[in-house]
């Protein structure tokens, strides 16, 4: 190529380059211009917004409460929002149950535990457009502080628990924001099963609930169930303390399986192994031999039973009673049944709100009981079942279906959901059960039933070391393993009897629910170890 050509080519290249460069520059310039325009627009809007937002100070997201200040501010509970507070300006802390914008208004439903109240925020002198928009966009379950005036309403607000008032919001601040996507919707979680099917709306199945237990426990139904359960515990304690019982604590790490070796959890214990207690049975009795006369204990019970049923858990709370008596074990039965009746009465009288709340989602018949408690003998029960067409042996144990049928027959005949079955056949009871003095095939043992399901198994215990040894050998139990237990009866032991109930099962049956996992906060079963 000639110099000129080269030059020419170079020039061309340069020109080409500068053309490209020009184009590039042009594009960049355009982009920059657009960006600047946009920013200017936003800034203008923001200014506009700020300018028009006269309510800027009355809403927003609070910085995380790190105990920065001590505010002398009284927060009213949702359940206390009644017509008595009409026209008062108060602060409320609650969760956002729902929020719905309708034009220039925003309707919020605020919730605290079982109680809900409607709140209203409307564009006007006190609230700006931006404030209402802010409220409508708040995520469900967020915890907010609201300052509002309580107003009486003409028409009852059926969908809320506080039906006679509504809140007119003055200020609204977010204390803790919730993520937008919830693992389950609370409205779905309280919807009755049938209604879900009929209207094609969602209900939440049990596994989802249990996997997201923290949210499930916020529902009105769950709140009610566990408050009632707390009541059962309290009534149990109060009634027994009033009867002169002493509360004891028994060890849960033990050296020998108490109810028979099959269903016990083993734990490693330093260089050896130990078991988790299946019941406080042996220790309750040792306390009686230690002269405590009347004892009870509330504590966990561990059963390694691979039963996946509606009423079995691997860990549950046992409420156990043991009592020395004078001459007849019926003294103990009477004491236990009276305790149960006091519990039923206490629940009926003090927890009606909770019972009604649960019934809204899980309808059931109110729990019925007789005073004094109905007591049938095992032989009578067998006769009733046979009369209803069931084929069974006189000394056969009751199968679950037969127990349930018996419950129905007893309900129909005596109109009670709670009764005692006395004098079980000896062969089907544990080795420490005292045999019947008049008939060696039967025993001084009893079961108690609620709505046809067993809630308590109890008996007069063998308090004689020799007889106990015989019975243990008869059941092929390794005497070495229960040496300490048998020894406790060698130095004078009073005649005694007792029994234990499961807290979760009693709550479930009292409320007429159908799965014990509903009444266990964080249930444990063969398939579930979390949460």
């Amino acid at each position: 190529m000639t110099k000129e050509n080269v030059q020419g080519a170079a020039e061309e290249e340069q020109q080409a380059q500068s053309k490209k460069g020009l184009k590039k520059q042009q594009k960049e310039a355009e982009k920059a211009a657009k960006k600047a325009e946009k920013q200017a627009k936003l800034a203008a809007e923001q200014q506009e917004a700020d300018e028009d937002d006269f309510a800027k100070d009355r809403y927003g997201i609070c910085p995380m409460v790190q105990s920065q200040q001590k505010l002398d501010r009284a927060l009213v509970r949702v359940q206390d929002l009644t017509p008595e507070k009409a026209e008062q300006q108060i602060w409320v802390r609650a969760r956002i149950h729902t929020s719905r914008a309708k034009g220039k208004q925003c309707f919020l439903v605020l919730r605290h535990q079982q109680f809900t109240v409607q709140a209203l925020l409307a564009v006007g002198e006190r609230a700006s457009k931006q404030m209402v928009k802010f409220a409508a966009n708040l995520t469900k379950e967020s915890i907010i502080d609201v300052e509002a005036v309580v107003k009486k309403v003409e028409q009852k607000i059926e969908s809320c628990s506080q039906q006679d008032v509504e809140l007119h919001v003055e200020r609204i601040f977010v204390i803790s924001q919730s993520e937008a996507r919830l693992p389950l919707q609370l409205e779905d979680a309280v919807r009755p099963e049938g209604e879900g099917d009929e209207e094609g709306r969602a209900t939440v199945n049990q596994d989802t609930r249990l996997d997201n237990r923290v949210i499930d426990l916020r529902t009105t139904t769950s709140q009610a169930i566990f408050r009632l359960q707390s009541g059962v515990c309290q009534l149990f304690r109060d009634t027994l303390i009033n009867k002169g019982f002493v509360e004891i604590q028994t060890p849960k790490i033990i050296s020998a399986a108490s109810e028979g070796g099959a269903n016990v959890f083993t734990v490693s214990y330093f260089k050896t192994s130990a078991y988790l207690a299946q019941s406080p049975q042996l220790y309750k009795q040792m306390c009686i031999c230690a002269d405590f006369d009347k004892v009870f204990c509330v504590g966990p019970v561990f059963r390694a039973e691979d039963s996946n049923t509606h009423r079995h858990l691997t860990e549950f709370v046992g409420l156990d009673i043991e009592m020395a008596f004078n001459y007849h074990y019926h003294e103990v039965i009477d004491s236990i049944t009276d305790t149960m009746v006091q519990i039923f009465k206490g629940l009926r009288d003090r927890f009606q709100t909770e019972i009604q709340t649960v019934n809204k989602q899980y309808p059931s018949e109110p729990f019925k009981f007789l005073e004094p408690t109905l007591r049938l003998e095992y032989k009578e029960a067998v006769a009733m079942l046979k009369a209803a067409g069931v084929e069974m042996g006189d000394e056969e144990d009751l199968s679950t279906p037969n127990e349930k049928l018996l419950g129905r027959l007893v309900k129909e005949k005596y109109d009670t959901d709670f009764y005692v079955l006395d004098k079980y056949p000896l062969a089907v009871r544990p080795f420490y059960t005292m045999p019947d003095p008049n008939n060696p095939k039967y025993s001084n043992s009893y079961d108690m039933f609620m709505r046809g399901e067993e809630i308590l198994s109890g008996a007069q215990r063998v308090h004689d070391a020799q007889l106990l040894t015989e019975r243990a050998m008869h059941h092929n139990i390794d005497l070495e393993k229960i040496k300490a237990y048998i020894d406790s009866f060698r130095y004078g032991a009073p005649p005694h009897a007792g029994g234990g109930i499961g807290l979760e099962r009693v709550t479930m049956l009292y409320l007429g629910l159908h799965n014990v996992r509903q009444t266990s906060m964080f249930p444990r079963d063969p398939k579930r170890l979390t949460p």
Partner: protein, 173 residues
Amino acid sequence: MALRELNSLERFLGLKKPNKYSTQGGKKVPVLQNNNGPALIGLVTIASHLVHEAQRPELLGDSAEQRAVVQQWLEHRVTRLDNSSKEEVKVILKDLNQYLEDKVYLAGNDFTLADILMYYGIHHIVVELAVQEKERYLNITRWFDHIQHYPGVRHHLPPVVVLRNRVYPSGHH
């Protein structure tokens, strides 16, 4: 099974001389060898013959319509009820329960052979039902209890216990 039914039927009808039956085929279909002609084969055929022999034609129905309904149930017994599977039994019970809602007997207002043979045929199912199921199929239970107490019907079959009162509330089912 069918032979025992026929024997019971004979006793109900008051036939003095019991017949000798044989069976044929894998399904043990009953056969009655007649001196006067071809053999009678089949439960329904033989049963109808016995009714005529006992001079109780009303047991097969009084009117043309009733006769047709009786035949319908006899046919139902041998074609659907016998050898039905577990799922089919549920459907059969549901349908029968609905049918019996406003009837005392299966065909019209009188006791007929349809009631007898359906009772024999359904007994093995009803005897196994739990109390709750017997209450669910309330009309079948009522009809069944009525037939099993009818004089002379229940010979070879054990009585089924029927409770006087409902023990399951009606919402239970």
